[in-house]
Subunit: 264 residues, 2 copies
């Protein structure tokens, strides 16, 4: 009863904060400087990680680049580009990739847990830092035939959100968090993906949004931003309608064809 | 463009299906029979698993009971109760529990993956079965100081949702899915939990809701059902308001006190 009264008393603030959020949409956000900051990127050898390394190099950050795979992390061309911008280290974090469920979790979630666990205490002590979790639209909504992938990306989103809340509860607001949730990206992870929502994203577009989100300390970045609306719609609309909507969204990729062929 | 037109053409169906959902709220759902069905319960030695075993026994299902821990899974009293109802097996699935992140994931998610992976093919072949995922309210919304737990429960929710979509895509609608998402339950997992949302749940209440949800083939069960509203509110209201709301919800448990004491 007291709880309901408490919430009713908060309602004027809801109006105020909603207006504030609306106004903020039209004010360009100030970007923070990352010059001289140490930036550790896992999976830096390819795709989003590699592109993000370039961007931080341009901003004169000190880079620490890690990747699963030594061959892919052999950052010859990257190091030439960023030679004057910072310091480049490379190191192996894992042996190799594996299609097994456990490996999907290891690569997508546990590696990020371990890395965070290693660096968070120092960030918290200095009340300074920024932890970026690379999740996916598939961490909010699901795609058939990517069961372990979706589940591990849901875990990544949960990790980001719990970490954000924990830092707030411990009043370490100097340690920022950002979670990247893009739709299909053209990085070779999934073969020939397509949806009616729009063309497959190019890494450059996603990294632009990511960099902007990090520098303006945005908590959750959806690319395209319409994904945010989709996750809301999913919680409101009736199931039968959502099933029709999914047919229209029509997510396809070659892995599905292979899987179906195997099953039939 | 074609996609937007497609969606606009679907809008009359949105109204229709929404009305249908509303009407269905007031029609009592038919419960299916589980007499003679094989019911495998992991974590059957304690808490929700144990109580659920009792309920299925009463409904004359054939039980297969597994638990992490041999001591806890020594189902002396359960077997007496259900002796005439079905068959009881016990077996060890894991060595022991461990507070490490990996173990949290192993126990909460990977075990469920492996079990599903083992039994799903037969279910799909017969187009008959039901997979129940025990997640948590913490699989939708987050709680500070339960980082690995939240993340693993997010993964469980993602697993359930992706599995549901995959079964629909493969037209195996005879294989049902249910996901249980309760608030804090008084099972000793968390010491002295409390929130302003209401008293800590008793296992009996949660199992009643779970059994009802399974037998009526509900996909997502929130206990209390107000959690569903909370997950919606989280996606709409501005962040600053949500932070105040969380203060009022005031989730507390003894682990927090211990953690804070250690940090300071």
């Amino acid at each position: 009863m007291k709880f309901i009264l408490d919430v009713v008393l908060l309602l004027p603030l809801l109006v105020l904060f909603s207006l504030e959020s609306l106004v903020k949409l039209f004010i360009p956000k100030k970007k923070k400087s990352v010059s001289g900051e140490i930036v550790l990127i896992t999976g830096a050898g390819h795709g989003i990680g590699r592109q993000t390394a370039y961007e931080f190099a341009k901003l004169k950050s000190k880079l620490v680049l890690w990747d699963i795979n030594k061959v892919k992390a052999d950052v010859g061309d990257v190091s030439i580009l960023i030679n004057n911008a910072g310091v480049v280290y490379t190191s192996d974090l894992f042996a190799t990739q594996d299609p097994q469920i456990e490996k999907t979790f290891e690569v997508n979630v546990l590696a990020h847990f371990w890395t965070t666990k290693a660096f968070l205490p120092a960030m918290m002590e200095n009340n300074h830092g920024h932890i970026v979790t690379v999740a996916s639209a598939a961490g909010h909504t699901v795609v058939p035939f990517l069961l372990a992938y979706c589940s591990s990306k849901f875990a990544a989103v949960g990790f980001h959100r719990a970490l954000t809340d924990e830092l707030a509860a411990l009043e370490r607001t100097g340690v920022k968090t950002t979670c990247l949730c893009p739709n299909f990206i053209n990085t070779g992870f999934i073969k020939n993906p397509s949806t009616s929502l729009g063309p497959t994203l190019e890494p450059e577009e996603v990294v632009n949004k990511l960099m902007n989100g990090i520098l303006t300390e945005e908590k959750m970045i959806f690319v395209p931003s319409s994904i945010r609306l989709l996750t809301l719609v999913e919680r409101i609309f009736p199931e039968r309608f959502l099933m029709l909507l999914k047919q229209k969204v029509n997510i396809k990729f070659d892995a599905v064809i292979g899987y179906k062929a195997k099953k039939q």
